[in-house]
């Protein structure tokens, strides 16, 4: 998709004025964090598991080439095929090629952020193949032609009324006056529609939460079971995954599974956790005849060893979104691409370029909440600051802001001059600040457009202190009551 990240400010303004979106975000803001906290508190070793999960991925990233080769060998040994793809285009073409060879008309899909990243749906459609999203949320946004607004809850931005409208517009073969008031009826309608698709699909395309090197297995985590129908029913199963999804062993996978659902939704484990290894074996009752893994780089290998290396530990749990006050204010679409929230703000510039995504690392207070909940202990604020450093070096952003910062820094490095200038400035502001604050002030409109600005309360502390002032201590000495 064409990123709208350059319009982040405008996107954000519209999102803040969007009432259904705000209602949805208000619900998310309470639900997910509360459930995560409860899940973490139920498990005494949760913090240790976070350390272990981080260490596993650190180890993988240091030895990624070896693990990828080991993984490929296992997949091949089990009768599957691995396709290495450098970028989105190669991945799309590879998938199309597999579909064509399978004579596919319809491809069922279970939720995959990588498939969003490479925009494979539009590409398949252009080439006469119908992709059908089978995760309920993804199905809804596919009908609406929208990108996901959350990495684990793609349609979280919609109300159930909006979903009902979407279904009425899309499922025109059904009675127009049917009752769609309850979430249950929406679910059942989607289920009925999708059942036909599951049975008719020639290829099933899934993502992978992890790829296990010791067994050549891909792990799929869902709550709807749609991934299982996607990988089992069609003749061909295609897995699309990026290279950093590797973990060494089944044991490692289970460590990460223990933090994944707890961080994401507060579940101890997701409803379905599926392990797929190769195509159907003679003794298997079901399973695909062909098994392909499309292994995507798309900028990851460049991140290795860079200041964004640690981002590659991300397991896409969504906790950083659920806890981010910026995300909770503007939702996912404002970020303008398929990822969002703190992980998106770090990742998107890596994937679509720093210029296009320049707002994202800046639109953060660096409050640190994301890092405090990230199961993989990814230092997200630090990396946002790294993007700001790169931008500063590249002289991006407003020239006026840069000039103001430079002038201030110049002054801050010259204490004596700084003191004289600040004393004068404070005296000047103090003259006009008789009401204790300003409702508007030239050069400070960014501040005063939204809030009053307190006026300086007297001469600077340092000048008063050096004249021997001690402040008004009457309150302390006389135990005077104040209101």
């Amino acid at each position: 998709m064409q990123p709208t990240s350059p319009n982040f400010k405008q996107n954000a303004r519209e999102a803040i004025a969007d009432d259904p979106l705000q209602a949805a975000l208000a619900k998310l803001a309470v639900g997910f964090p509360m459930r995560r906290l409860e899940a973490a508190q139920r498990l005494p070793e949760f913090e240790d598991l976070r350390d272990q999960a981080r260490d596993i991925k650190n180890h993988v990233l240091e030895n990624l080439d070896q693990y990828l080769e080991a993984y490929e060998k296992k997949v091949t040994d089990s009768g599957g095929h691995v396709h290495w793809c450098r970028d989105a285009k190669e991945a799309r073409e590879t998938i199309l090629d597999i579909c064509r060879k399978a004579g596919a008309k319809t491809v069922t899909k279970s939720k995959s952020m990588i498939s969003e990243e490479i925009a494979v749906n539009a590409y398949l459609e252009e080439n006469g193949i119908e992709p059908v999203e089978t995760d309920l949320g993804e199905y809804i946004i596919q009908l609406r032609k929208e990108p996901p607004s959350h990495i684990i809850a793609p349609a979280i931005h919609l109300s159930k009324e909006q979903v009902a409208d979407t279904f009425r517009n899309a499922h025109i073969d059904l009675a127009a006056d049917r009752d769609l008031d309850e979430p249950r009826s929406l679910l059942e309608e989607a289920r009925a529609k999708l059942r036909e698709k599951f049975l008719g699909a020639d290829v099933g395309l899934t993502g992978a939460n992890m790829l296990i090197a010791e067994t050549g297995t891909n792990v799929l985590v869902t709550n709807e079971g749609n991934a299982d129908l996607t990988n089992n029913l069609p003749r061909v199963h295609v897995v699309i995954a990026s290279i950093e999804k590797i973990v060494p062993t089944l044991e490692d996978a289970s460590t990460i599974l223990r933090v994944l659902a707890r961080s994401a939704t507060g579940q101890d484990i997701s409803v379905y956790t599926t392990f797929c290894t190769g195509p159907r074996r003679p003794e298997d009752l079901d399973g695909p005849e062909e098994y392909h893994v499309v292994l995507l780089d798309n900028g990851r290998s460049e991140m290795i060893g860079s200041e964004f290396h640690e981002m590659l530990r991300c397991i896409r749990c969504g906790a950083c979104l659920n806890h981010c006050p910026i995300y909770k204010s503007v939702g996912g679409h404002a970020y303008g691409w398929v990822y969002s929230g703190p992980m998106g703000a770090v990742l998107i510039p890596n994937l679509i370029g720093m210029e296009e995504a320049q707002h994202l690392p800046n639109a953060s207070t660096l409050c640190g909440k994301c890092e405090s909940v990230c199961p993989m202990r990814i230092p997200l604020p630090k990396m946002l600051r790294k993007w700001r450093e790169r931008q500063y070096k590249a002289e991006m952003g407003s020239a006026t802001a840069r000039w103001a910062l430079k002038s201030w820094a110049w002054l801050a490095k010259r204490p004596a001059l700084y003191r004289r200038v600040m004393n004068a400035g404070v005296a000047l502001l103090g003259q006009f600040g008789g009401q204790g604050r300003f409702k508007s002030l030239p050069l400070a409109s960014g501040w005063t457009s939204k809030r009053d600005l307190a006026a300086p309360a007297g001469d600077t502390f340092i000048s008063q202190h050096h004249k021997g002032a001690r402040g008004d201590q009457s309150g302390a000495l006389m135990r005077k009551k104040v209101h």
Partner: protein, 258 residues
């Protein structure tokens, strides 16, 4: 305590307190002296450099930080009435000088003895109570850097609970960012407004008449929004209350009679 055994504290007053709200500086001096410290205020201090650091201006950050290190490394302790500035010195100086070996050791040395005011009082000077009085109900906002970089949560509450007449009413979202974020609040005013509105709503729900915090940046943001919305809740730095220096008007309030 005899003069000689008193620890000397260099007060890093912070640029905002210095310029906007001197009473916080006086309160800090009083609290530190009452706790048995000898307090000095080096005149060569300006700012910790955080605005430059968070804007990606690494070169200026390092230059400003070098000034701070030179001005403060001679003291036993460095104390700031701000979790944000203390966090900058404590956490981010060593990080910023990571590949400047000549300065790294000095940055780490300063980091090891730098504290936020209230946690310094409780954790280092073992202060458990002050003799101040304040009649009213307050709610406390946990500033992000203090909370998440320095682990400051219980210390201010412990001290405040010793203030006679003071009642604490906790909000549900005390740990949620107020939307200040330094330059963030002027660069992204719409998002910042949304965040500070949520903060104001949470404060109003507590029924408190005063909101306290340990960082003037957050407080000016919150006070400014309270006032813009016409909400009658005052904002003060917690040190003012702890030092009994609440005769002066609250943040952004006019001097009585003017």
């Amino acid at each position: 305590m005899p003069e000689t055994s008193k620890p000397t504290v260099g007060l890093f007053v912070t640029c905002l307190v210095d310029l906007m709200r001197p009473v916080v500086g006086f309160a800090a001096v009083k609290l530190l002296e009452d706790a048995g410290c000898k307090v000095e205020v080096p005149a060569s201090q300006t700012c910790c450099g955080q605005p430059a650091y968070n804007s990606g201006d690494k070169a200026d950050t390092l230059d400003i930080a070098k000034n701070v290190i030179a001005a403060f490394e001679g003291y036993d302790y460095v104390v700031a009435p701000s979790g944000s500035c203390a966090g900058m010195i404590k956490d981010h100086y060593p990080e910023a000088f990571a590949d400047v070996p000549k300065w790294l050791a000095r940055a780490e040395n300063l980091s090891a003895k730098t504290y936020e005011l209230m946690s310094f009082l409780t954790d280092v000077m073992s202060v458990s109570a002050t003799n101040a009085e304040f009649s009213g109900t307050v709610t406390y906002h946990d500033s992000c850097s203090g909370l998440r970089e320095l682990g400051i949560k219980d210390q201010p509450r412990a001290l405040l609970s010793s203030v006679q007449g003071l009642k604490i009413s906790e909000g549900n979202e005390t740990e949620t960012c107020c939307g200040f974020g330094g330059l963030f609040c002027v660069k992204y005013p719409d998002i910042s407004e949304k965040m500070v509105d949520a903060k104001v709503d949470d404060i109003v729900k507590t029924g408190a008449d005063t909101v306290l915090a340990g960082d003037l940046g957050c407080l000016m943001n919150i006070a400014g929004r309270l006032q813009r919305r016409g909400v009658d809740v005052k904002a003060r730095h917690a040190a003012e209350v702890l030092a009994g220096m609440t005769a002066a008007p609250a943040i952004g309030e006019p001097v009585e009679g003017e």
